[in-house]
C-alpha cells in the first residue's frame, strides 16, 4: 500500500507542505516545529509520505511492519480516580493532592463512579464486551512520582475487552478514496495516572507534582496497523470518539492523551520480528513520524545484519528519530498483585439489576448505553446522506477541530446548496486557514458572513469569481459584510437584460469570424464569445445568461 495521506478532499493542498516547505506563506514566522500546531487540537496528521517500509529495492525481500498501540486517555472528571481531590489542568503543583494521593500510610482508595461510567461508555462506543465483574491490581515499580511504589490498574480482568475501532485511510491516486480499516481493541482498563516528574538537570534535582494522579483509560490496540499513517488515523478517530463521548478531552498537548507504540518488522509469511516500544508520543504528527522512523530504522538495522533489541525507545522530535531509553535494569518485573483494598467492580444490566438497589451504588450498563451520544462515524454517515457530500469530505469536516460546527452554522443560515457550502468550506475556507496556520476558532470569517456570501452567489447577485474576491476582502477583517463589499466594489452581476443584449450584439459584430465558427458548429466557439462578453462586462455578467442571449441571437 502506498503511504496514505490523511488529508481528505483537499487535493493539491497539502497544507503542511505549504507550511513546512513553502515559506512563502509563513505569517509571523511560524516555527516549523509543531508547538503551535499541537496546541491547536491535533488536527495535523502526518503530512508527508515519509513512510518507506514497503519500498523495495531489486532483489530484496519485502518488509512488513506491525504496529500496536497503548493509549492512555485521562478521564475528564471533577475528581481523581481513587480520591476526592479535584482535577484541574495547570493548577499550581501539588495543590490538588489528598492524603491518598500522597500515599500517606493508612489511606485507602475509593473508586470514582464517574470514571467507571466513562470507561463503560468508551467500551460501548468501541464495540467492546463490558465485563460485569472486573478487578484491580497493583503494578509495582519504584519511581519518585509514584509515591505508593505501585500503580493501581486492571491487569487481569479489565472493565472492557474485545472491541474494535474503524477508521478510514485515504487511498487512490489522488488520495481521495477512503478505505475503512479495522483495528481490534484488546482491552480498556481503568488505572491511576502517576504524578509528574520535572527534571532540573541544571541543579540535578527532580521536582514532583502529584496533582496528576487522575483516572486514566488505557486502551490497548492490537498490532493490526502497518505504518505511521494508519496508527495516526486510528488514534485520531479514537480521539474524536472520546471527545464526542466527553469521556476525555483527549488533548495531546496537555498530556490528556498519550500513546506508546509497539513496532516490529518481518518478512510476510515469517514470524513477527522483535518489537521495540516507543514511549510517550504526545502529538499525532510525531506519532506517525516516530513509527515510520522506527520501522525504517529496524529495516536498515536488519538489512545491515544487525538485530533488534526488545527495548524502550523515545522519540526525539527535534532530531526526528527514536533513541534507546537505556533501561538500566533491563526488563522490569512489575510483581502484579490483586489490589486488596478494592472489592471486585461489579456492573449490572437491566436483567441483572438487583431489585431495590440504591441507584447511587450501582452502575447500569444499559442505562449508559441509552445515553451514548452520536459517534463520529454516524455523524459522517449523516453528513453524506443529508448533504450528499463525499465520505472523505465528511472525514475532513470532523477531523478539523470546530470545522463541523462552522459548516453546520453556515448551512443553517444560507439558502445555497449543501454541495456548494461543502465545497466552499472545505476548499476556500479551510485553504485560507491552513495557509495562514489558523484554527477554525481564529478565523476572521464568521459562519454568518460566509452564509451571506453564499446567498449572494446563490441568487446570482455575484459571480463565483466575484465571490472569491469578496471572500478575500472578508479575510482582511475590516468588519464589512459581504453585501457592503459587493456594492463598494461594484461586483454585482449585470442584471439589465437589455444592456447585456446590447453588449452581446456589439461583441458579435466585432468578431464575425468567431460567429462564423459557431455557425459552423464548432462547439468551443460559443465559449469564446461568452468569454469576450464577460470580459467586456468586467466579469460582472452571469455566463449562463450571456449564453442564453448569444444562443438566441445566433438562433442555435
Amino acid at each position: 500500500m502506498a503511504a496514505p495521506m490523511l488529508r481528505w478532499g483537499c487535493r493539491g493542498r497539502r497544507w503542511a507542505f505549504a507550511r513546512v516547505d513553502g515559506g512563502s506563506c509563513h505569517r509571523r514566522g511560524a516555527p516549523t516545529g509543531s508547538t503551535s500546531n499541537q496546541i491547536r487540537g491535533e488536527s495535523s496528521v502526518a503530512q508527508q509520505p515519509l513512510h518507506t517500509a514497503q519500498k523495495t529495492r531489486k532483489g530484496e525481500h519485502k518488509w512488513a511492519a506491525v504496529v500496536g498501540l497503548e493509549i492512555h486517555a485521562q478521564i475528564s472528571s471533577n475528581s481523581k480516580l481513587f480520591s476526592g481531590s479535584q482535577v484541574r489542568f495547570s493548577a499550581p503543583p501539588n495543590s490538588l493532592v489528598s492524603f491518598f494521593d500522597a500515599s500517606l500510610p493508612g489511606t485507602l482508595p475509593v473508586l470514582n463512579r464517574r470514571c467507571v461510567e466513562a470507561a463503560v461508555m468508551t467500551g460501548l462506543a468501541l464495540n467492546c464486551h463490558i465485563n460485569k465483574k472486573s478487578l484491580f491490581d497493583r503494578k509495582h515499580y519504584f519511581y519518585a512520582d509514584l509515591p505508593a511504589g505501585y500503580q493501581i490498574t486492571q491487569q487481569r480482568l479489565p472493565i472492557a475487552v474485545n472491541g474494535s475501532l474503524i477508521y478510514g485511510v485515504c487511498a487512490g491516486k489522488k488520495q481521495s478514496q477512503v478505505i475503512p480499516k479495522t483495528v481490534r481493541i484488546k482491552q480498556i482498563q481503568l488505572e491511576q495516572d502517576s504524578g509528574k516528574s520535572l527534571h532540573d538537570n541544571l541543579r540535578s534535582q527532580t521536582l514532583i507534582d502529584l496533582n496528576r494522579a487522575v483516572g486514566l483509560l488505557e486502551v490497548v490496540l492490537e498490532p493490526d496497523m502497518s505504518c505511521g499513517e494508519e496508527a495516526a488515523t486510528a488514534v485520531r478517530e479514537l480521539q474524536l470518539i472520546l471527545q464526542a463521548l466527553g469521556t476525555s478531552q483527549a488533548n495531546m498537548a496537555e498530556g490528556q492523551l498519550r500513546v506508546d507504540a509497539n513496532i516490529s518488522v518481518h518478512h510476510p509469511g515469517e514470524p513477527l520480528g522483535v518489537r521495540t516500544e516507543v514511549k510517550n508520543l504526545n502529538s499525532i504528527r510525531f506519532l506517525a513520524k516516530a513509527i515510520d522512523y522506527e520501522i525504517q530504522r529496524q529495516i536498515n538495522e536488519l538489512e545491515n545484519g544487525g538485530e533488534i533489541l526488545n527495548e524502550t525507545r523515545s522519540f526525539h522530535h527535534k532530531l526526528g528519530c527514536t533513541m534507546s531509553m537505556r533501561d538500566k535494569e533491563g526488563k522490569q518485573d512489575y510483581r502484579f498483585m490483586p489490589e486488596p483494598n478494592l472489592p471486585p467492580l461489579v456492573l449490572y444490566d437491566a436483567t441483572s439489576l438487583p431489585a431495590g438497589a440504591d441507584p447511587q451504588q450501582v452502575i447500569n450498563i444499559d442505562q449508559i448505553r441509552e445515553t451514548l451520544p452520536e459517534l463520529p462515524s454516524v455523524t459522517r454517515e449523516k453528513l453524506v446522506q443529508q448533504y450528499g457530500m463525499l465520505l472523505e469530505h465528511s472525514f475532513t469536516l470532523l477531523n478539523e477541530v470546530g470545522l463541523l460546527e462552522f459548516f453546520q452554522n453556515v448551512i443553517k443560515e444560507t439558502r445555497a446548496e449543501p454541495k456548494k457550502v461543502t465545497s466552499w468550506v472545505l476548499n476556500t475556507f479551510l485553504g485560507y486557514l491552513k495557509q495562514q496556520n489558523l484554527a477554525v476558532s481564529e478565523s476572521p470569517v464568521t459562519p454568518s458572513a460566509l452564509a451571506e456570501l453564499l446567498d449572494l452567489l446563490d441568487s446570482r447577485t455575484i459571480s463565483s469569481s466575484a465571490a472569491k474576491q469578496v471572500f478575500e476582502e472578508l479575510w482582511k477583517r475590516e468588519g464589512k459584510t459581504p453585501g457592503q463589499i459587493v456594492s463598494e466594489k461594484q461586483l454585482e452581476l449585470m442584471q439589465d437584460q437589455g444592456a447585456l443584449e446590447q453588449l452581446c450584439h456589439s461583441v458579435m459584430e466585432a468578431h464575425p469570424q468567431v460567429v462564423m465558427d459557431v455557425k459552423n458548429r464548432n462547439p468551443r466557439a460559443i465559449n469564446k464569445l461568452i468569454g469576450l462578453v464577460r470580459k467586456a462586462t468586467q466579469s460582472r455578467a452571469d455566463p449562463v445568461m450571456i449564453k442564453e442571449i448569444l444562443e438566441k441571437k445566433l438562433s442555435l
Binding site: 492524603f99 519504584f142 498483585m337 472489592p343
Partner: protein, 510 residues
C-alpha cells in the same frame, strides 16, 4: 487533652511500674470510672458512650497531630494529618486518648519484642499471683531479667489495659495480634468480622486480613467499643453496607441449651501445653453440662494455614512497604548520589530485619515466574481454609471453641531464643486461619496457669455474627470468673513516685 504520646521507650515496658502514669492513681474496678464521671460532669454534656473513658491506641493507627511510628525507625517523627476512622469515632464518643502503644515493628511479630522502642513487658510479670508462684520456685532468678512477654503484636495495648492505664485499647489483628496478647495478659481480645470496622488510617500489614481489634477487661466493654466503631466507612471500600444494630448491647444469655459448640479436632496439636489443653476440654465440658450441644468438627486444611499465611502476608507486606521510600515522610538517609541509592539506604536504615526479610520473601513470591506457584496457590488454599469454616458452620455449629495460644506467656529471655518468624508461625497457629476467613473471634481469659499466668480460650463465630459470638463469650466469661490482676503493691509504689513528680494528669484530679 491528655493525648500525649506515651510511646517513649519505657512506657509499656517499664513505665507503668515507675513513672509517666498519665492515668490517675490505680483504678481497680471495671467500668465504674468514678474520676472520669467527675470529669464528664465538669465539662457539662456527655459526648457519648465513651465520654471520659481513657483509652489507648496501638501506634499503627494514624492519629492527627500525634506521632505515629509503627515502632519503626522508618516512621520516627511522622505526624499524620488525619485520624484513623476508628480513632475519630472513639474521640467523637468522648473517649480520652491516653497514649499510643508499643508493638512489633509494623505489627510483624507475636511477642511485641521487635519494635524500635524495645520489648513490651507483661504486667503479669509483676502481679502478686505470679510473684507468689515464683517465690515457691526454688531456682527463681533475678526478677528484673525474668519478666514475661505480652505476646503481640498489640502487646503495648494489652499491657496498657492490663495495667489499668486505660479501660480499652485498640489493637490490630492480622493473624492473631489482638487475641494473642489478650490471652497472655488476661484480657478480652476481640477481632471483629472483616468489613465490620473501618481500616482507614490503620497502617496496613496485610490489607485483606487486617482488622482493628479491641482489648478490654470484660466482654461488655468490648461490645460497647465495638458499638462505637462498627459500621460502613466511605473511606474504606471493604466495609460492608449493612446497617449495624446500635447500641451494641449484649443480652445476658440465661441458657445455652440451644447452642451448638464446635471443637475443631485439628487444633489439638502436639505443641499444645497440657494446661491449655485441659482448660479447653473443661470449657467444652462446661458448655455440655449446661445443656449445649458440643460436637467435634473438622477443619481439614488447618495445617496449611501457616505456610499459606506466610506467602500472602509477605506478598502484601512487600507491596505495602513500597511507599516507604524516604521521599515524602518518615526517615530519609543522608545518601544522595542517586534516587535509587537513597531508596536503598533509607529502607535499609528504616526497617528492621524482620520487615526486610518479609519484603524480600514477598517480592520473591510476586515475581512473574513465581506468582502462579506461590501467590495463586496460597490464594486457593486460603479459599479452602475459609470453606472449612463455612462447612463447619453449615453443619449446625454456632461457635467454635479453640485455644488462643499454645501456652501461657513465656519470659522474654526464653522467647528470643527463637527468631521472629519461627515464633510467629508457632504463636499464630490457632488465630490466623480466622483472619484468612474474615470471621469474628474473641479470646476470653479463662484461668491462671500453675505459674499464676493467664490462659485464654478463643471463640470463633460466623461472619458478621459478632453479636452472637460476644453473647456466648459473655456467658462463658461469667461462668469462669477470671481473677483480677493484683498489682496493688506496685501501684502503691507508683503513687509515691507520682506525688513526688506531679506527673499525674491534673485535669482529672480537679
Amino acid at each position: 487533652m491528655l493525648g500525649r504520646s506515651l510511646r517513649e521507650p519505657d512506657f509499656e515496658t517499664k513505665s507503668w511500674l515507675r513513672r509517666r502514669m498519665s492515668c490517675p492513681p490505680p483504678v481497680l474496678k471495671l467500668i465504674s470510672a468514678s474520676p472520669f464521671i467527675h470529669y464528664t460532669k465538669c465539662r457539662g454534656q456527655s459526648l457519648g458512650d465513651l465520654d471520659g473513658i481513657p483509652i489507648a491506641v496501638k501506634d499503627n493507627f494514624s492519629t492527627s497531630g500525634i506521632e505515629t511510628t509503627c515502632a519503626s525507625n522508618m516512621l520516627k517523627g511522622y505526624i499524620p494529618p488525619y485520624n484513623a476512622t476508628v480513632v475519630q469515632k472513639l474521640l467523637d464518643q468522648g473517649a480520652l486518648l491516653m497514649g499510643k502503644t508499643n508493638l512489633d515493628e509494623f505489627a510483624m511479630g507475636s511477642g511485641s519484642t521487635d519494635g524500635v522502642f524495645g520489648p513490651v513487658k507483661n504486667p503479669w510479670s509483676y502481679s502478686k499471683q505470679y510473684r507468689e508462684k515464683r517465690k515457691q520456685n526454688p531456682h527463681s532468678e533475678n526478677e528484673d531479667s525474668d519478666w514475661l512477654i505480652t505476646g503481640g503484636s498489640s502487646g503495648g495495648s494489652a499491657a496498657a489495659v492490663s495495667a489499668f492505664t486505660c479501660y480499652a485499647a485498640l489493637g490490630s489483628d492480622t493473624g492473631g495480634s489482638t487475641r494473642n496478647p489478650a490471652a497472655h495478659c488476661g484480657l478480652v481480645g476481640f477481632k471483629p468480622s472483616y468489613g465490620l470496622v473501618s481500616r482507614h488510617g490503620l497502617i496496613p500489614l496485610v490489607n485483606s486480613m487486617d482488622v482493628p481489634g479491641i482489648l478490654t477487661r470484660c466482654v461488655d466493654d468490648a461490645a460497647i467499643v465495638l458499638g462505637a466503631l462498627a459500621g460502613p466507612d466511605p473511606r474504606d471500600s471493604t466495609t460492608v453496607h449493612e446497617p449495624i444494630n446500635k447500641p451494641f448491647m449484649l443480652p445476658s444469655l440465661a441458657d445455652v441449651s440451644k447452642l451448638c459448640i464446635g471443637i475443631p479436632k485439628e487444633y489439638l496439636v502436639p505443641e499444645l501445653s497440657s494446661e491449655v489443653q485441659s482448660l479447653w476440654s473443661k470449657a467444652a465440658d462446661l458448655f455440655e453440662s449446661e445443656g449445649a450441644k458440643v460436637i467435634e468438627v473438622s477443619l481439614p486444611h488447618t495445617s496449611y494455614s501457616i505456610v499459606c499465611y506466610h506467602v500472602l502476608c509477605t506478598s502484601e507486606v512487600a507491596s505495602n512497604m513500597a511507599r516507604f521510600d524516604g521521599l515524602q515522610y518518615g526517615h530519609r538517609c543522608d545518601i544522595d548520589v542517586s534516587t535509587e541509592a537513597m531508596y536503598a539506604a533509607t529502607r535499609r536504615e528504616g526497617f528492621n530485619d524482620v520487615v526486610r526479610g518479609r519484603i524480600l520473601s514477598g517480592n520473591f513470591f510476586l515475581l512473574k515466574e513465581n506468582y502462579e506457584n506461590y501467590f495463586v496457590k496460597a490464594q486457593k488454599v486460603r479459599r479452602l481454609i475459609a470453606n472449612d469454616f463455612v462447612n463447619a458452620f453449615n453443619s449446625g455449629v454456632d461457635v467454635l471453641l479453640t485455644p488462643t495460644t499454645l501456652s501461657e506467656a513465656v519470659p522474654y529471655l526464653e522467647f528470643i531464643k527463637e527468631d521472629n518468624r519461627t515464633r510467629s508461625a508457632q504463636d499464630d497457629i490457632f488465630t490466623q486461619a480466622v483472619n484468612m476467613a474474615g470471621l469474628p473471634a474473641v479470646s476470653i481469659p479463662v484461668a491462671l496457669s500453675n505459674q499464676g499466668l493467664p490462659i485464654g480460650l478463643q471463640f470463633i463465630g460466623r461472619a458478621f455474627c459478632d453479636q452472637q459470638l460476644l453473647t456466648v463469650a459473655k456467658w462463658f466469661e461469667k461462668q469462669v470468673q477470671f481473677p483480677v490482676i493484683q498489682l496493688q503493691e506496685l501501684m502503691d509504689d507508683c503513687s509515691a513516685v507520682l506525688e513526688n513528680e506531679k506527673l499525674a494528669s491534673v485535669s482529672l484530679k480537679q
